[in-house]
Structure formats: C-alpha cells, structure tokens
Symmetry: C2
Subunit: 516 residues, 2 copies
C-alpha cells in the first residue's frame, strides 16, 4: 500500500469509484497528528467527567442531526442497507450516551482511600488510588460496522469518556462515511464548548502503522481480522516502549445443540441459525460459524430445515472486493476438505444483478472424523459448518479442539443439561459470552456486556470492546501517598465536593454516593 | 545456562556453595509440570472464595510455623539480615491474609446483572457478567525479596486467591528458601483440606522460558530487571497465542525537592534520602535514584548533609555476585560521565571483612547540562544522583526527559506548590505512585496500593503487582446471556445464596451486600 495517493469512496453495489475523499496520510503527517493530539490530553482531562459527559451527549445529537446523510453514505459504501445502518447509527449514539452515563456514575474510577493507620507490618501512610486517562490513543475502524465500531464507535466513545484524545485510522471501505462522522463529532464537541479537536483522522495502512509506532500513542484499539490485528499487535509490542494493544479479532463462535432441544424444536433452531449466520451477509465477528449437532433424527431435522431455509434465501452484497474474494477462497477451501459436503446454498445472483461483490450463503456438513484445521478458523461471511456428535464424550472431545472465541451458544432443554454440563465448563474458560437458547449475533451495549475472550478472539483477555468496562482499556491507576487534600483529585478528597461523589472504598469499606 | 546440572544454595556472606538444592528442570519436565498444574485449575476454582480464603490463611500460618528456619535460610542466601527478613515474612503472611480478605469481600468479581428490558436499540436480553480465573499462571521470583516477591509472595497470593494454580520459577539467588516456602505452602493447603498441589516449582532459566512458552500457562507475573523482563515479555507476546505478561521491572524513581523545603528542613530530607536509597543495600525497585535539587543554599545544604550521612555509613553485602558486579559496572559508567562528580561514598570494607559481594553507597552530582542517557536509567544498588535545577522551566524540562517510573516523590512546603504544580501533573502521567514529603521505599499492602506505571516501570500500565487490585491480573470476564438461574455462578443469581453476597451492579444501580 502506497503512502501517497488518493483515498477513494466506492459504491459497493456497483463496485465503482464515486469520489476522492482524501489523500493517504504520510508517516510524517501521522506523526504530526499524533503530537497535536497528545498535546490535547491535559485539556480533555481537565474537562472533568461532567464536561466530557456533556460532550459525548452533544456528539450523539450531532450525529443524529446528520442521520440521513451519514446513513446514505454508509449504505453506498458498504451496501449493508439503510435499515440496518439507521439502526447502527441509533446504536452508535446510544453508545456515546451510555459512556456519558458510565463516567457520570464514576465507579469506573475505582476510587480508594486508605487513611494512615498502624498495621502488623508497621505504620501505614495515607494512600489513595484512582484511575486516570492514559493519554492519546489510537482507534482502528472496522469494515463491517462503519459507525458502531468505526470513527464514532465504541472505542472512540470509551476513550473520550476516559479522557483520552483519539487518532482514528479510517477503514478503506468507508472513508466518506468516516469523514462525515468525524465532522459531526467535531460539531457536537464545539456545541458543548470543546473547541479543540479530540478526534483526528489518518488514512491508509502506512499511516496506521506509523500511529501504532508513535511514542505519543499510549494504547491501541482495533477491530478487524486476525491477520491485520496480529500484525499491529506485534508492532505495538515491539516498540521500545510497548503499549497495550486491544485487538478484537473475530471468532468461530460455536453453537452446541442438545439432543432434546433438537427433537423438540428443530424448526425454531434451524430458522434462528439461518437468520443469525447470514445477518449482514455473515460479516459479524459474532457470526455462528460451527454447529455441534447431535447424530440422529433431531440433528437431521435441524440440518434439513436449515438447508431449506437457506435455499429460500438470496445472495447478499459483501463489504468490499477483498472481503468477497477472501470469502470465496475460504469457502472453497472448506468445501474441498475430505468428508465435507455442501448441504445447501442459496441461488447465485441473476445475470442482471448489480455488479457488486456477492456473497452466497452456504451450509456445510463435516464428516465424522476429527475436525481439520481450516474448520476451526473463522470464515468471514455467510458460511456455517455442521459437525455431528455421537454423545457426551465425543462432544467434549470436539469442544476441546476448539480455539477460544468471542461467544459460545447452547440450545438445550432441561433433559440436555447433564450432557452439556462438561462442555459448559470447558467453554466458560474459552469464550467471553455464553448464550443460552439464543443466537450470538446482536450484542447489547450495557453494564454487563463482555465482548472479548482469550486469543485469538482478542489480544487482551481481560478486556472488552463493548459495554461499560470498555472504558478500562484507556486508563491507568495512580496512588497518592500522604498528599495534602487540596492537591488530590476531587474524588479522592475526604469530603468529595458535591457532584463528584462516586462509589469509593474508604478504609476497606465500600461506600455508595448519597444519591444512589 | 545449562538445562541440566545442580541448583545450589550459596552463603551470600561468604560467597561459597553450601548445598545442592535441586536439579535444573528440563524443558520436558517443565512441560509436564505445566500440564499437571493446569489440570488442577478446575479444582481450585471449585473450592470457591471461602475455600480459597481458608487455604490462604492456613498457608500464612504454615509459613509462620517455620519462621525461624525460613528466615535463617533466606538470610544465609541473601545476606539481607534476619531483622529485615523477619519483617518480610510477616509482610508475606499479611499479603496472603489480605488476599483472603479481598476474595471474601468479593467486589473484585465485578458482578453485574442486567435483566431483560426494552431499549432504544431493541429488546435487550438478560445479561450477567463476572470475572473468573484465567487458569494456570506462571510467577517469577525476584532476587531482592526472597519471600514477599518470590515463591510465597504477592503474585502467588493473588493468583491463588483468584483461583489460578501457580508454577513458580525459583530465583537462583535463594533456592533453598524457595523450597522451604513451597513446602510450607503445601502444608498449609493440606491443613485447609486442599490435598492437590497448587504451587509447583521449576528451576533454571531454560525451564523459565519453557514455562512462558507453554500453552497451558495463561499469564505470567514477573518482578526483576528490565533486561530479563523484556526478554520474557517478548517471548510471551511471540507465542502463537500471546498471553498477558505482567512484568514489574524497576525504575529510577525521581525525587523533587522544592526550594522552600530545602531551606526549611535540609537535614531531615538528607537523612531520609540517605536511609531510603541505601535500604537493603539499594536493592529495591522503589529506590530513589535521582534527586532534582534546587540550586542555591537550600539545595547545597541537602547535598552536603546527605554526603555527611553517607560518609558515616558502612558498605553492605549485595544479593549475588552478578548483582554486585552489575552495580560496580553501572556506578563506574555514571561516575565517568562528563560533568558528574562523586559527592560522597562510604568507606570500603576492611581487609578482614567477610568475602561476600560488597556494595559501597555513593552519592553523585551531575553537571548543569542536560541529563545523559545512563543517568536516566535505574542503577540497581546504593547509588543516588543529584541534579540541580535553576527554576520552574528548567525543572519541567528535566522532568520531561525522565522515563516512566514506579514512583515520584516530592519534598515541598506550601511555598513550593506553585513551582511544583506543573511537574506534579507531568509526573502523575508517568508514574504509578506519587509520594508527598516521604520516601518511595516501603510500600504498603492495602486496598489503595498501586505498584506499577507505564513502561519501563512495568509491561502492563493498568496493573499492579501489590495491593488488592493485583488479583485482577489473573482474571477474565465472562458474560452469561439468558442463562437459567441454576446454571449461573451463585454471585450472579438474583437471590445470591447466603454467604456469597458481594457488591453488584443490578440494572445499572450499585448494590452493597447486606453485611456492609
């Protein structure tokens, strides 16, 4: 990828260039952008939680004010459909407002006060601890969520909430959308009285690498492929001063169907699976990619009804030429594996269909042998593999072979619980979210959300990129020993001034703010 | 370092081999130990918080029961002195008991319950989240704390509390102490009814590397040098499946003295600094290594009184031949820098003194030019450098050049606050703990403790290796979506059964357990 040259906006339905949006950012320009961004960190911190909450709310309003334009641009660039993107914009605004709620609540600061006291190990000084912003952070937008996981998305929202300015690397698949969103964020900030830039953009892969390497960047958030994520993770860790790299890299997302559930409600499970794995043309990091299905009539029924549902579907337009090509390559590899057969595909596009990058949903079924390597990896797009199991021991063996993932899903009736007990424990160690009688696509943004998991689901198993805890990625603790009260952050002063009261632990005991 | 061969215990006062303690662990043996350890993870988890708290308390008792033997072994192997090591054993036991308190409290689980509800983005399912143990973890003992940061130390205590079995890499400088401690931990566990091994030992660097590479090891805790820590950090990150590496690597730990404080109490500051930087023969990761001292009479007085105090001291025995040699090399480099002069050293050991590895305390003063590279790095041992500053701008420039550290210390009177305001803000971003009118050595183990900082102070700026939050390093979140109550961990059930009540966030609101 060249450092110079135009960044173009493509019409994903026609596969043609519509406009030049920007020039690729050179490494020198990226470096300047990082330095300017870092210089704003103290100002953003000084805004305080109240000031930043107001800014986030104003940003949400500004995005909504440009809803029609942003949705239309995003639909053109991604072909995801206006309905879906309208919902994604609503979600993006909800994320910004939710992060305002998280910082207003303030428990995320983990404020602790220990007054001086005598202990078995001697006199203990007065010590007080809380989390503070890391400084400038980098955010890499994802191809498949041009809004909710891109420039105005969850990484940006949580970083700004924490008090960290953002340099956002724009995804090549939706540059015009990104520029419009960045403008909206700036307008919102301005309306909230924040007249300095808190989100800057860089374009192109070389600029992205320069940003990850830049000493002013204190952490990186990334949503994307295993390959690109690992590449940047390695760069972040090979810096003279390594910094945290929070990569959310996608996953196989296994589904386990119990025999009783399969017998009792094969139709519901099959139609739910068909919808879930083809949602957004299978371009979700939470797409269910593998179904462990019991041998016998219940499992056969799920398979046959799933096939029927898929045959009735149409193909979908994928996000980009590269993604569509990778899907064709990946699905071809899987189809050609020994023992794997095609259970169903939907029809291919008409000869008269638009020229975009089509993805054709497919259902595969593997043979009885052990699962081969390609089956254990994510195939990004509308493909699902069925693997039959003969009983608890076989199921446990199959689950043992799985790599960590973002989610694991169970379809089970009461009669299945004994059979599933072992694999439930196994999977609870391997995935970030366990779903019961539901589907992994569709991820709520709330206090209890965890969107993560051990590698390769993410590069940081303690962290989430969605939900309240996402803010933790952009913070670091500091302890104050024997500090005079007036030099402490307000939240750490004995009598925390009105309006800053938060959950605190004072001399070992948790204390809630009065308003709770 | 060879994979085979004996691991010997040395008498640090005489510099001679006393006994063969073990054989170096081969990589194959290390692999077997990791697999056996990982197989115990589920059992340790099943013990529950109450079971693990009892186990930790029994471990502390067992260590105390062998106090005389352990202190004597540690004193022989480290020459740190029986008094200091007796205190360190007390601290080690206090850490184990404190971790029992942390898990009994249970807030560390970050339990969150969100019941199903309607939101702007649609129907939100029931989601519940909490932290769970990572699995087997590795701990690398430190040379300078044979108890509190080694086999029975804070990393082990917090990992066991979290529910993670430990494979501990024994430090070459105190193998006999480590074996005795491991026995005590095992005895304690047994007395608490835990009849499976929860802490295993490996010996030798090759085994240490094998452990960091082993797929069953889910995280690594390390306290030691920047060089060794970075080497292992790189290995952990270059694994096919990278795992978190929590390295605490030491630091320069700057001290800033304000002009008014220097004028008002030069004697107190000088004698405090002399004690702090020579404590444990300067072998503390929190040793103050650099003092930014005002030009003029106050600063002169601090310097001269510090010199006087040091001249009156004797030399001390260092932990090992390698550490003593590194100290000599490091201090020689610093002394020979342009503009640096020796302000004071204490006397060298008598000709008739024991044959151990002597460290001779030294005070250096740098010239007015910018600080050179070697001055900005930790010199492990009893050495402190004074750097004079002419005013606020010069001070800020000096602080800007500093690398991140574990601590920063201020000696200031009210009249100094305006001058120090700028650098206080700068240093709050660069260090884990800010100390006011005190000394950085001596670190309380409590709820508010943060012992960390950005690289090179640590490899994980969000984390601490000391204090309540140290447990977070060994945990990962999991979310349960639409799960039947009886399949949830007790802490996530609506009516948490008696005895498991913890701080929870339920439908956005924090709720304290009834007993709080």
């Amino acid at each position: 990828m060249l450092a110079v040259g135009p960044v173009v906006s493509l019409d994903a339905r026609r596969g043609v260039v519509v406009a030049e949006v920007a020039r690729r950012t050179t490494p020198d320009q990226a470096s300047e952008i990082c330095e300017r961004g870092a210089a704003r960190a103290a100002d953003l911190d000084r805004l305080g939680r109240r000031g930043r909450a107001a800014m986030l709310a104003a940003m949400a309003e500004a995005l909504e004010a440009r809803r029609a334009e942003i949705v239309s641009l995003a639909d053109m660039e991604t072909a995801l459909g206006a309905g879906r993107l309208d919902g994604e914009l609503t979600r993006t605004c909800a994320q910004l407002r939710f992060m305002a709620e998280v910082i207003t609540d303030g428990a995320y600061l983990e404020a602790v006060l220990d007054h001086a006291r005598q202990t078995v190990t001697g006199q203990q000084p007065d010590i007080r601890r809380m989390l503070q912003p890391l400084g400038l952070v980098a955010v890499f937008g994802a191809s498949n969520f041009p809004l909710a996981f891109s420039v105005p998305g969850g990484d940006t929202a949580s970083a700004l909430a924490a008090g960290c300015p953002v340099v956002a690397k724009v995804h090549d698949a939706h540059p015009a959308t990104s520029v419009a969103c960045a403008e909206a964020l700036r307008e919102g900030a301005k309306r909230a009285g924040v007249d300095f830039p808190v989100v800057s953009l860089v374009f192109g892969e070389e600029a992205g690498v320069a940003v990850v390497k830049h000493s002013a960047v204190r952490a990186v958030g990334f949503t994307g492929s295993l390959k690109a994520g690992r590449y940047l993770f390695d760069i972040a860790n090979q810096r003279p001063d390594p910094v945290p790299f929070y990569g959310e890299l996608g996953a196989l997302n296994p589904v386990v169907v119990g025999p009783a559930a399969a017998e009792a409600r094969a139709g519901d499970i099959a139609s739910g699976l068909a919808t879930s794995y083809t949602l957004g043309v299978g371009q979700f990091c939470t797409k269910p990619g593998l179904v462990l299905l019991p041998e016998g009539s219940g499992g056969d029924a799920v398979r046959d009804l799933l096939a029927e549902a898929v045959r009735a579907m149409g193909p979908g337009l994928m996000l980009s030429e590269r993604i569509a090509a990778a899907f064709v390559a990946g699905s071809t590899t899987l189809r050609e594996l020994a023992g794997v057969r095609v259970v169903a595909t939907c029809g291919v596009p008409d000869a008269g269909a638009s020229a975009g990058w089509w993805g054709v949903p497919v259902v595969l079924e593997a043979g009885p042998g052990p699962m081969s390597e390609p089956m254990l990896q994510e195939c990004f797009g509308p493909l699902i593999i069925l693997q039959r199991y003969s009983g608890a021991a076989h199921l446990s063996e199959l689950v043992k072979a799985l790599e960590p993932a973002l989610t694991a899903t169970f379809h089970a009736d009461a009669a299945d619980e004994a059979l599933l007990d072992g694999v439930l424990g196994q999977l609870a160690r391997k995935v970030g979210r366990l779903v019961w009688n539901g589907y992994p696509t569709g991820l709520a943004v709330t206090w209890a959300t965890h969107h993560g998991g051990p590698y390769p689901a993410t590069t940081a198993p303690l962290h989430t990129s969605v939900g309240a805890a996402a803010i933790k990625r952009w913070l670091q603790p500091v302890s104050y020993q024997n500090f005079p009260s007036h030099l402490l952050p307000p939240e750490l002063q004995d009598a925390a001034p009105g309006g800053v009261a938060v959950l605190r632990r004072v001399d070992s005991r948790l204390t809630l703010p009065a308003h709770s």
